[in-house]
Subunit: 136 residues, 6 copies
């Protein structure tokens, strides 16, 4: 088995806000991220898939196909968007790095032909990233 990882980027706005809290409580917990005008990041996404190497092509996964799946399922939806206002899963889930990783997993799971989704890694900044391996 070989693991293959593809990096992509998307640029989005977001903010942290819990509707059930007062403005003061949001400010206390989320600090500068609680600004509802939004701020933003160049997110880096690393998607890792696992599978056997096809002896005929030498590929675990067709990279052109993988790129199209990432484009259709994630990048087209997240890139140049305000995650809180325009991406459905973040209507009820705060778009932290952790939750973005989980959400991307849910968007990709079961969609990669001939290989298993192994890990979703999301960098919010070069010095902060979250890894999700699915329910385990």
């Amino acid at each position: 088995m070989v693991l293959l990882t593809r990096k992509s980027e998307f640029s989005s706005a977001h903010y942290y806000w819990n509707e059930e809290w007062s403005a003061e409580e949001n400010q206390r917990v989320f600090g500068r991220c609680a600004n509802r005008n939004g701020h933003g990041h160049n997110y880096t996404l690393e998607v890792t898939v696992a599978g056997e190497v096809d002896p005929v092509t030498g590929f675990v996964v067709d990279l052109k196909q993988l790129k199209e799946i990432l484009e259709d399922e994630v990048l087209r939806v997240y890139d140049h968007r305000n995650l809180n206002l325009e991406v459905p899963e973040f209507a009820t889930r705060i778009p932290t790095t952790e939750n973005i990783a989980i959400s991307i997993w849910e968007r990709l799971e079961g969609k990669i032909p001939n290989a298993q989704l192994h890990r979703v890694r999301v960098y919010e900044m070069p010095d902060l990233f979250a890894d999700y391996y699915g329910e385990r």
Copy 2:
């Protein structure tokens, strides 16, 4: 004369929109950047100052002081903000990479003790940056 460069980062939301144009015209010229919900970036700022090396300290500029100036004049104002909605110069100037570089120059010019502002470089993405050297 030696040039000294300090890198900083700020994370902001922005969008491109010319109020005098129709929505269609904004869409045509600015494409995905015309989304008024905003998207965002981790901007990297490189500020270069030029001066003589002080023979007593070995410094062109006191780095602690330079860091405070960058913090007060730029980072505190731009970081975790929506540039269009919260930073005064972008009320009338579209926050393109080019205009952000010019605006940071204007904020810093004349503020660095014992050294001259030489260049402001702003990266919007790792593969796109603008350089401004002042009026010349």
Copy 3:
């Protein structure tokens, strides 16, 4: 479960020397690193913690708190220090990349609220790093 990783940097001097060996033996085994005047590195530290995402905040761990723990337990002690002469664990343990990773693990273990320390990664140079996952 989600893994969250935070990168930090510290700049330290060190050298490799085994007191029980002759100078020749130290030179033979450690080469240029045996210079007792010391040399130095910009170390990059990646600390990974594992935990459940809090449904209210969207966080595995409070990043502000994590940053303070890293600062208090590691960075304040290692940064701008001579590891051999000023950090207690390296009085008896050679400050190799491997031993620095183990020592940082020991400093952090049990200190992260609501999450488990999962991995400590230390880069001595961009092309050399050690990973420690604790006693296992």
Copy 4:
């Protein structure tokens, strides 16, 4: 147990071609990579070994020795070469990132004294890499 990782680079030409297929089929599956004049990459190789830290030296593995093994077994053979035409394993195996990772594992396995080969990671580009952990 500690894991130690060393990065190296090699610059090689390659192309993708299955001799049992027509030119059209090669073109359809491999796209621009099917150009038999070759194209090339700066490959980045990360080799990870696992072992106990020697209490006398503080090392999992002697880095000078590790570097020589990488040089002799891999870099001398792959660097500044056309992988398809000059490296024996790629006479019958398409030099995809996946197959390069497996081939380097086979070249290194059992060669590292006092430590176990843990992982071979090969980057073909900064945004694409393959990991191989041996037969498991």
Copy 5:
């Protein structure tokens, strides 16, 4: 005036060979690069253009248009190609980093609307690059 820089990548094979020399002389001067089976690199191209910021758009240059010009004039011709065998200018000019920078300048000069080509930078490896500013 503002300078705007766009990075792109291309992956090509090349080798160094002077037809007027013996094989021994080529080997002596060009070392491992004289292997006529070719080796390859991920080249990074930085193209810098200079111009006034359009007060209506905030742009020095339309990025979409710049990207298309780079694609048509350079990337489509160089990427996934053997520079010596498939790119006309390298039939008579050895494809060193220096000559690649000059050749890309010649391909782009006069093609950027409303802005001047200022600099072409080509990285052959992360630790080696050439800059060309045109005939001056």
Copy 6:
């Protein structure tokens, strides 16, 4: 004319101390850098040379020769050394990033055959660098 730049690295210890000042004054001006046990960095050195491209070789400068000059004049002297205690120019000159750039210029000037030294850039950290272009 083409500019060619080569990057190298050296790992050194240093500290900031002015012998004519009290310990308090050194502490006040240099902060954590005033620790005389030393701390250290992975310095990145970029040396840029300028010249005409030789029509026979395609080179501005023979890279193998340039590498040897950098090794002999700079790296062998600075790498794995305590700059304050072991490098002569820093007996009387504080090893700031600015002074290191000037010192490397002085070591290299006039030593590059067929090309002119154009710029010395020294990174002390990824976010701090100094440029020196000689006496002008």
